[in-house]
Homo-oligomer: 417 residues x 2
Amino acid sequence: MPEFLKLTPIKQALEVLLSHVEVNIGSERVKTIDALGRVTAKPVISPIPLPQFPRSTMDGYAVRASDTFGASEGLPAYLHVKGEIHMGTTPGFDIQAGEAGLIHTGGMLPNSCNAVVMLEHTQKVGEDTVEILRPVAVGENTIKVGEDVQEGEEVIQRGERIHPPEMGGLAALGIVELEVVRKPVVGIISTGDEVVPPDHDLLPGQVRDVNSYTLSSLMELSGASPKRYGIIPDQADKLLSISARALNECDMVLIAAGSSASARDITAQVINQLGSPGLLVHGVAIKPGKPTILAVCSHKVVIGLPGNPVSAFVVAGFFAVPVVESLLGLSNVAVYPRIPARLSNNLPSEAGREDWVAGRLYSNQSGYVVDPIFSKSNLIFSLVRANCLIRVPLDANGLSADTIVEVQLLSFSSLPK
Amino acid sequence: MPEFLKLTPIKQALEVLLSHVEVNIGSERVKTIDALGRVTAKPVISPIPLPQFPRSTMDGYAVRASDTFGASEGLPAYLHVKGEIHMGTTPGFDIQAGEAGLIHTGGMLPNSCNAVVMLEHTQKVGEDTVEILRPVAVGENTIKVGEDVQEGEEVIQRGERIHPPEMGGLAALGIVELEVVRKPVVGIISTGDEVVPPDHDLLPGQVRDVNSYTLSSLMELSGASPKRYGIIPDQADKLLSISARALNECDMVLIAAGSSASARDITAQVINQLGSPGLLVHGVAIKPGKPTILAVCSHKVVIGLPGNPVSAFVVAGFFAVPVVESLLGLSNVAVYPRIPARLSNNLPSEAGREDWVAGRLYSNQSGYVVDPIFSKSNLIFSLVRANCLIRVPLDANGLSADTIVEVQLLSFSSLPK
């Protein structure tokens, strides 16, 4: 039985893998309104200043600030109200010394105005006179042209994901179409003589294909387009031919090995025939996930995942998701929202491996607490009962209750920006 | 100028609103493979035990545990190897006292076996004899029928979102179709005489419609189906007719008010004509977002959002997202992943209002740090430059640098499960 001579720590394994990722997979043009979650293929440069005209940030009176100096409740300044500035148009008049214009939040300042007095600090007297009860400084309650964004400014970098704020920013600039990175296509191959499709009845000794479902949806969440190649028996020739096809059609290939050692051997052997440089890492210091194979074949990443569905999912989260993010050219790869939480129970582990244990995170008065979910063999429903994974560091010999641990949310999504 | 007599704290405002939400919006049947992110409309009951047959969790030899008692390297037990148990089928033979069967991880145990000896603790001698070098306990290295899930067990509650682990669990059970809650339809109305569609050129005094883009994408992320009703001028009759139509066609309606006080008055007036009970909350103790209107008209939530795009987005995150989650029947409403982080700069604020300030969260050796992004008037690109919001509590008069603050990720997504 072959054993892994040395296990590579997870961080180092990921670095080796990412150093081989080709980042240019091409781009496509989409409507901004359809670009949610996509990644910019080039920097976005603002074609205009924002705002394009000087605006009021308050309801009140547009004035020349110097006309209000020294004004107080006891000794107000009296200004002639020249008119109302309507929303969405030019003011229609200018303001001379001793004059004011009624203005609304977002309204356009007349040329000679340089401040706005809030309505609360004024008192209308008669038809066309207003008392100013407080002075305003130059620029007060106004936004200058280009104060948010300058014309020609880089407003969104290359490699940024489009979230609601970016959608809004693009709309504000009138950018209704956008060049985004093509979605990486990830081929998913399930293997195992015992594995049948989920819609099949089971004969004794058979199990249904879980990995195609979990891996597809994880890849979808990370911004890739999954392509499923079905279930391949534990035969090297069959696995080689389907893997070669997948490698040709996809940007990355995930092979969920059969659960036995011999099935894993077939996977390693096939991956090494797919192209150079082949295997980079065989065996990672992580539990679950020790028998992981990380490879690059003909410039594309191929990952041999353990057959156990929980192991395959955890490993895909730690390796396949960062590869997708790297293919997308995301500027922040693998920055996960890890939440500190108090461990509710003792958690045994062996030193020399980074353990990731299913847990249930919740909050109470004292903050976040996490219950470990003990399951002797990484059964899929222990993951369904969980909402996070608890990290037990490489050098820890178990953790005691009340230790503050790092918790990784099960979505495996990176920080939103 | 009408002012808000009293501002309702955010938590209390949300409770009032959610207490009026009708939770049954109906369900539909989808394929499990397409159900990512959807919410279960009824509990999922397992039709089978999982696993369906007793399995080995190791590569090794299936045995009767009693045959290994007392075995050691110095004094091994000798067992007759009856054959190999192939993956995906019944063993084809049973094991009597003194016998063993070669078995792979995931293989089916013969009837009379109750344990598996790991390959590493055995030594093959000759063609059909194996030395057992360590004893195993009854049940060791095996999984019993139903150890993951019992037949008839509720495996997924009603009101749970389908994430990759749930997809996998459903596949394991052969459940390839699922009853999920219909996506709530959220009507989005932009108002303002100064607002034009993003693909229009701007005349002086005009701005482009940002809210339709930010609110649509936020609703999409939260699991709703947004329906945009375009831009309505600040005229009560026009706003009333389009709002009434939206209320009829949608499960919730968001109205982004014009930015002026008079435009907000029109919104309030129109919402009160849409149906009873009408306005529940007018004015929330939150910055940005004070002029928020929360209403229920004819059993549907209507939210009047401030016109400023940053304010509208923040308020929609705090109120519209939890309403969507409530309409979806999610068992955990409004549990956001708030991350503790160290504030890098002093942050001024006034007591009596919960402030949410745009920030940029990053991690360094000491953990998470957040830089506040100062912007005098909540400009949209300050949100683009941010990746989170920093919470300044209701009763704080500003926060000092190095304070540990609560940070809300800008995705406004709830905890994944």
